[in-house]
């Protein structure tokens, strides 16, 4: 065995790569469980690609067949129900894991110098995930698939001058239809593989600058680090086990918890369901989109820009945060802003889930007001973070000299 490895290593240094980048890769010794979610995201990506590949072997992208073929997968194909439920719920769990991963990065300042490029590739992955998830949701060709596709593609029509033509081009017709379904399937198959490639770049960027840590200070290799194996392999495996308990509980005991009943009705271009909602992981952005309704004929475009901006603003986060300290552990004001931001995301999600014209407190508080406030708070987080750090308003607590 060692003879064979010697032969290989002389030609391709596999052992050296594994040693420097995996087994002996120096990792801060103080990483907490929030650092599990990166490897967990990769784990879910692999589950999604594996189940997706096998589903594609049974699926047909055809407006007349797709709905039935999904039921064929559920009823006829051996373990087809398992593959589909793993895949459909896997999408939800993927977003949960990635949202926690992003929020961890925001809390501990993992986007700060020298990790900006690492952070940007993460946002690119997140954006591609959203596109992939959206197109995947269209494939079962149920009512929610169809009308979700209709609403989201219609957003493009807000773009001035070329908008209307662009939507026709995306549809391949004058409404969402068979050509749309076919191209969405092709892209839904391709994009996860592209995501996998960008994940590799994300990890390259990580290994170039090494992991941040809860204290947020630069670590000294040797004194502050431990080898990735066995310490973090075993910790990541443990995390994967805990994750699987929750994941399997949903897949086996509540597989339709995250799915919309209306999507078990075949797509009908003649009738929109009474209340259409996106998947939960899009709800906050959906709420931001709908909250811009006070600009008259400009509202539609402004809503789309606000929704895109909600993600795009993450790109400049490394430059908005001017604090000398990375970790929010030692930044009392930032910490408060962060938790307001987290709660605000949940509130926006709840607003997005409810009908646009709903109200609370016996109609005294229309949800649109809550949505607008939530949108202001969302962007306010980034603005205020800049204000309190750029003008030295925040006084940080003592930061340890070493971990």
């Amino acid at each position: 065995m060692s003879k064979i490895m010697e032969w290989v290593d002389a030609r391709l240094p596999v052992t050296a790569l594994l040693k420097s980048q995996a087994t002996e890769y120096p990792t801060p010794k103080n990483l907490n469980y929030w650092w599990n979610f990166g490897s967990l995201a990769l784990f879910v990506l692999i589950i999604m690609i594996a189940t997706g590949l096998f589903l594609a072997m049974h699926y047909k992208a055809d407006a007349n067949q797709s709905f039935d073929v999904v039921e064929h997968i559920m009823r006829d194909v051996n373990y087809g129900w398992l593959l589909r439920y793993l895949h459909a719920n896997g999408a939800s769990f993927f977003f949960m894991v990635v949202y926690i991963h992003i929020l961890r990065g925001m809390y501990y300042g993992s986007y700060r110098k020298p990790r900006e490029i690492l952070w940007w590739f993460g946002i690119i992955i997140f954006f591609m995930m959203m596109a992939t998830a959206f197109m995947g949701y269209v494939l079962p060709w149920g009512q929610m698939s169809y009308w979700g596709a209709a609403v989201i593609t219609n957003l493009m029509s807000a773009i001035p001058i070329i908008g209307e033509d662009l939507v026709v081009w995306i549809w391949g017709g004058f409404s969402v239809g068979d050509p749309t379904l076919n191209r969405f399937f092709a892209l839904h198959f391709l994009l996860p593989l592209v995501i996998f490639g960008v994940v590799m770049v994300h990890m390259w960027a990580l290994h170039a600058v090494h992991s941040n840590n809860p204290v947020g200070i630069d670590v000294h290799e040797g004194k502050d680090t431990i080898p990735f194996h066995p310490y973090y392999t075993i910790k990541d495996l443990y995390g994967a086990g805990v994750f699987l308990i929750f994941f399997c509980a949903v897949v086996f005991y509540a597989p339709n918890f995250f799915l919309e009943p209306d999507n078990y009705i075949p797509a009908n271009p003649m009738q929109t369901p009474a209340h259409i909602v996106p998947e939960w992981y899009f709800l906050p952005f959906y709420a931001i989109l709908r909250s811009i309704d006070f600009l008259g004929s400009f509202s539609k475009l402004a809503g789309v820009i606000a929704m895109g901006g909600a993600i795009a603003i993450l790109f400049i986060l490394p430059f908005l945060d001017r604090s000398p300290v990375r970790s929010f552990r030692y930044r009392p004001l930032s910490k408060q802003l962060f938790w307001i931001f987290v709660v605000d995301c949940f509130v926006l999600g709840w607003v997005g889930y409810n009908p646009a014209d709903a109200a609370i407190f016996d109609g005294a508080l229309p949800l649109i007001i809550v949505g607008r406030t939530g949108t202001a708070l969302y962007f306010g987080y980034f603005f205020l973070l800049w204000v309190i750090t750029a003008f030295d308003i925040e006084k940080h607590t003592p930061v340890p000299k070493s971990i």
Binding site: F54, M57, H72, D76, N78, Y79, L82
Partner: protein, 175 residues
């Protein structure tokens, strides 16, 4: 310092964890493997029913069974005679005609050449009064036995039974 019992304990834990992990992975892989097996709708087409009462002596029909062609030939007395006579000749793949049919007048054959899977041509096209595979020139007699050419075996007889006087069922229904 790690004592010997600590090391034994650690070895045991590593082995036990590895074994549980391997079992778990195998269990996770199984549904993927199994998803390639024939699905319920395919299995529901596992048998083919044919009304053979209208076949004239010497007439042959081709019916699909599990996506494959099956020849059903109502043999003439001469064809049966020829097949029985050949029983005693030196055959490449010896088989008695009586063992290859349930009723002497009906010959049921999986119409795929055992050489490389082409469909042989109908009765009367080959030497020995039987079938000729056009791909590589295998000749079969009136019992579907290989007589000449590259095929290693006789044409296969699928499982079939007569449900009643008129109806022939090819294939076995599975759960």
């Amino acid at each position: 310092m790690a004592t010997e019992s600590d090391e034994n304990r650690r070895d045991f834990l590593v082995l036990a964890t590895g074994a549980v992990g391997a079992a778990g992975c195998a269990g996770a892989v199984w549904p993927f493997v199994k998803s390639w097996s024939p699905s319920a709708d395919v299995l529901s087409q596992a048998t083919t029913e044919v009304d053979v009462s209208s076949l004239a002596a010497g007439q042959m029909i081709t019916v699909p069974w599990q996506g494959k062609p099956v020849f059903i030939l109502r043999r003439t007395p001469e064809q049966i005679e020829a097949a029985r006579k050949a029983d005693s000749e030196p055959l490449p793949d010896p088989a008695k005609d009586a063992d290859r049919v349930k009723r002497p007048e009906f010959l049921v054959l999986l119409a795929l050449c055992p050489h490389l899977g082409c469909v042989p041509q109908p009765i009367g096209t080959g030497n020995y009064g039987g079938f000729l595979c056009p791909c590589h020139g295998s000749h079969y007699d009136t019992s579907g036995r290989i007589r000449q050419g590259p095929a290693p075996k006789n044409m296969a007889v699928p499982y079939y039974e007569f449900k009643d006087e008129k109806t022939l069922v090819i294939g076995k229904a599975t759960a």
